[in-house]
């Protein structure tokens, strides 16, 4: 099974690895220690010490706090609350539901009918990073994109206790 050094994985994560090397990685068997190495890289880059349990997106993680609680956390440090609830509920939202608002992003005619599909932009309340954009009909509940089975993942797939 292949294994990659930290420098290679950092370049991969940052989009700086040459395409021929990326392609070789994609075509090869997967490196089984990738999860631990990527988490280690991400951990070294966030300005906080809570232990990353699972990356959720470019800026979001499930992290374990010293008091034993587990939260969804932005890399700026903002905490969205318990990992089992939808982090979006604690975010800021801006809804593009008119043609004028749509046309800040898209040329005329190249966006949805805003009465059918609106854009919901979710921002981190602290760093104001746009973390997700939903394209949903008006009235659709906030979507919980991913609810990981963290216990099973650690105990049965990684063969270790969930920190």
């Amino acid at each position: 099974m292949p294994a990659y050094d930290r420098e290679t994985l950092e370049m991969l994560l940052d989009g700086k690895l040459p395409w021929n090397e990326v392609r070789a990685i994609m075509s090869s068997f997967k490196d089984p220690d990738r999860f631990d190495k990527m988490v280690e890289i991400m951990q070294s880059r966030v300005p906080w010490d809570d232990r990353i349990l699972l990356p959720l997106g470019l800026h979001l993680y499930i992290a374990s706090k010293p008091d034993g609680s587990r939260v969804v956390k932005c890399d700026c440090g903002y905490e969205f609350g318990d990992w089992r609830q939808n982090w979006k509920l604690e975010a800021l939202i801006y809804v593009r539901d008119t043609e004028e608002k749509m046309q800040e992003i898209y040329p005329p005619l190249m966006h949805s009918n805003p009465e059918w599909i609106e854009l919901r932009e979710y921002y981190c309340p602290r760093c104001r990073t746009q973390l997700e954009v939903e394209a949903l009909p008006p009235g659709y509940p906030v979507v919980h994109d991913f609810q990981p089975d963290l216990e099973t993942f650690y105990k049965e797939w990684l063969n270790r206790d969930l920190p």
Binding site: Y106, D145, Q147, D149
Partner: protein, 755 residues
């Protein structure tokens, strides 16, 4: 699936000797296979793989010989076809199946058919074809009905049984995407049918030949039934030739390896496929629940000639939910999907399986060992009476892709969340681009021949953005990773159009830290046809390719066709004519051509007349974006501008880039000013946004009052009616009364509701 059609038993013909293994009938073999899988969890109860374990080199050699035979059959047979869909674009594939219908190996090509042909073979097995009409050496069967086993009616399948002595050892299957299927409207993804009786030529797993010869009555029926009989006949010969090459290859392998080894091999290969899939899921994903709804627009309001219940605009719900279980169980559900409808976008389960397999082979199992073992490792829920399982016999299916292409962008996003969480960032993709506009039509071509048109430029769209790079531009279709836009000169020979231009479509990709792959657009003049109708087919009111991790969806499509133009006069006067439409707000087509401009978001139309010199514009879509566009590298924005991928004003309004042209005319981004502008934009976000919990309070009032357009309310009603679970979730989220429902019950079209 067999429940759609009446069971045929053929009791009086049971005096024939069974053709299954060890004196069993095929149906007995199928039932035993299913029983052993249910009891042991393993294909045919194989808890061990002795051939693979004890003779691994031999096992791999047999697989390589079989796969090589399939690929060779495809590459050789495709040269028989004259259809550009097959010979230029490669819309065909071949596979080998067990006697009871499980796929063992597949060629390259339209991988969508890993399981669809399996469904068709199992239909024949369950309906006792063994006894009536009988299955004998030299027989040829054909099917194109998705309710039996297919994606859409234009994917025509051919099956040839392969015997060794008196036993059936398997089936060769081949499929090509034909040019026209003889539906009520021309083309091969017909948007016109509103019932299955208008879907065109129906081959319901028919025997179409014996002794390796096609029945003449079948040929005559097909010649009469489709608009392009010459392409049809050569496509059929392509499929038959490929199947016969596979038969030769299988017989050769059996002679070399022995029949007992071959029988053991095909079962072990499928069990290996099942185990490998589960292992791959556990290696690359994270268990849990992933929810990724997408939406489909069906715009038929005002179409003349349709009954009132079909002439409606519909917003359809595709709530894809993926659950990965503790042991690697892989379950896909569309619980809560919208009701089936009086249009041709209905997707029977076999079509849904086609979409699952074409995507899983590009994501989870991108290797040559693809077979029904992986299918057996997955489960699905396609609720009856929905677009994902219409059940009713009259549901038209000719354009099933129209639902399943947008519906399955959610699967890619779900898997990408899993890959990212696991650290495999190189595998992450945002939503693929829709394979639209499906430019369709028919009538007479420039040589006066009958023609049905679908320009397979659609097989070349933008791919979703990646977590480490932009998506690839105009290069693939979700249903054919070997996508190819084809040569303009070839299309000009086959379609009564000439190209005025073909170029990048700015802003078609979803923006983000990494943008989606861009789409492109072709501008055509209708040319020397005495009789032509055309239509558009694509999204214009929704965002079916959403972004991920903060990226925006790719752009929706629009229509800009011009009738009764002055183009020919312009040519005669040697005046400028349009070649492109970079910015619909400053349309080159509008500036340079007079006529009746159909310039709107009605991107799904019934056919309308077009004449020599009229203009047709076809926009091919981009992929969804990934990440916050305020994090986009200024160097990439310069490339976007100088490559024509985005219009300058959107570099500013979306990415916060401060742009200017240098003395050579190239666009430059001022990094320092851009950083300042981005900080200001983050502050603007904070000012205009509200806490989600505050927003939910007002939104709840909106839902309670039903303050949304009728199409949205009807969509919610259908989902609540067809799924108690989805309805409970919707009502609980908004804290609505248990019996809450919008008031549009009487707006639902007639027919079986299933509620």
């Amino acid at each position: 699936m067999s429940e759609y059609l009446p069971k045929q038993c053929g009791e009086t013909l049971r005096d024939h000797k069974p053709i299954g293994w060890d004196g069993r009938t095929l149906k007995e073999m199928l039932e035993e296979s299913e029983r052993l899988l249910a009891e042991t969890g393993c294909y045919w109860g194989l808890k061990t793989l002795p051939l693979k374990t004890n003779e691994p080199i031999r096992y791999e050699k047999i697989f390589a010989k079989l796969r090589g035979g399939l690929v060779n059959a495809r590459e050789t047979a495709m040269n028989i076809s004259a259809s550009p869909i097959v010979s230029e674009i490669g819309e065909l594939c071949f596979a080998f199946y067990t006697p009871e219908g499980d796929s063992v190996a597949l060629s390259t090509g339209i991988i969508v058919h890993v399981h669809t042909m399996s469904d068709a073979i199992k239909f024949m097995v369950r309906n006792d074809y063994e006894f009536n009409p009988r299955i004998r050496p030299g027989d040829i069967f054909s099917n194109n009905i998705p309710k039996i086993g297919d994606v859409h009616n234009s994917d025509v399948q051919t099956f040839v049984p392969i015997f060794w002595e008196d036993e059936l050892v398997g089936w060769a299957g081949g499929v090509t995407h034909v040019t026209d299927i003889g539906a009520s409207t021309p083309g091969n993804v017909p948007v016109g049918p509103i019932s299955s009786y208008e879907d065109g030529l129906a081959l319901t797993a028919n025997k179409i030949g014996e002794n390796d010869i096609v029945f003449r009555d079948h040929e005559i029926r097909c010649e009469q039934g489709v608009r392009t009989p010459m392409f049809w006949k050569l496509d059929e010969r392509t499929r038959i030739a490929g199947c016969h090459m596979i038969r030769d290859a299988v017989e050769r392998i059996i002679r070399e390896e022995g029949i007992d080894t071959f029988k053991q091999f095909i079962r072990e290969a499928i069990e290996e496929g099942r185990r490998t899939f589960i292992q791959r899921i556990r290696e690359t994903t994270v268990p849990g629940r992933y929810f990724c709804p997408t939406f489909v627009d069906l715009l038929f309001k005002g179409e003349k000639g349709l009954p009132d219940y079909a002439a409606v605009d519909t917003l359809s719900h595709a709530p894809l939910e993926l659950t990965i279980g503790p042991k690697g169980e892989f379950h896909i559900s569309f619980d809560g999907a919208s009701k089936w409808g009086y249009h041709s976008f209905n997707c029977p389960p076999s079509a849904m399986q086609g979409a699952i397999w074409v995507l899983l082979t590009q994501t989870v199992i991108p290797n040559d060992k693809v077979n029904d073992g992986a299918y057996l490792a997955t489960t699905h829920e396609f609720p009856p009476f929905t677009l994902a399982n219409p059940v009713v016999k009259e549901a038209a299916t000719g354009a099933a892709w129209g639902f399943l292409i947008p519906a399955f962008t959610g699967l890619v996003r779900a898997l990408s969340r899993a890959f990212f969480a696991r650290g495999y960032v190189e595998e992450v993709l945002s939503s693929y681009g829709m394979t639209m506009n499906a430019m369709q039509g028919g009538g007479k071509d420039q040589y006066g021949r009958d023609t049905g048109i679908l320009n397979f430029e659609v097989s070349c769209q933008g791919v979703g953005a990646r977590a480490i790079a932009d998506g690839a531009d105009y290069c693939a279709a979700m249903w054919n990773p070997e996508g190819n836009m084809g040569d303009a000169e070839v299309w000009e020979l086959l379609i009564p159009f000439i190209y005025l231009g073909r170029c990048v479509k700015p802003n078609s990709a979803g923006m983000g830290k990494y943008r989606g792959g861009s789409g492109y657009a072709s501008l055509y003049a209708v040319w020397k046809t005495p009789d032509l109708v055309m239509q558009n087919c694509g999204d214009g009111s929704v965002f079916p390719s959403p972004g991920i991790f903060g990226g925006y969806p790719s752009a929706s499509g629009y229509r800009h066709n011009v009738l009764n133009t002055d183009l020919l006069q312009r040519f005669a006067r040697k005046e400028p004519y349009p070649c492109r439409e970079d910015d619909p707000a400053d349309s080159e087509i509008s500036r340079l051509v007079k006529g009746d401009h159909l310039f709107d978001c009605r991107t799904l139309n019934y056919p309308y007349r077009m004449n020599h010199g009229d203009i047709y514009y076809s926009i091919y879509r981009g992929g969804g974006g990934l990440g916050d566009p305020l994090e986009r590298d200024p160097a990439l924005i310069e490339d976007d501008l100088n490559g024509g991928f985005i219009l300058p004003r959107y570099a500013e309004s979306v990415c916060g880039a401060e742009v200017r042209r240098d003395e050579s005319g190239l666009w430059r981004v001022d990094s320092a000013e851009t950083a300042k502008r981005r900080e200001e934009m983050r502050e603007e976000r904070a000012r205009r946004a509200v806490p989600v919990r505050d927003w939910l309070v007002s939104e709840r009032e909106r839902v309670l009052a039903g303050r949304m357009v009728k199409e949205v309310r009807v969509m919610y009603n259908q989902s609540m009616d067809l799924s108690a679970r989805w309805g409970r979730w919707f009502r609980e989220f908004w804290r609505l009364p248990d019996d809450f429902r919008f008031s549009e019950a009487d707006d639902l079209p007639p027919g079986e509701s299933g509620a």
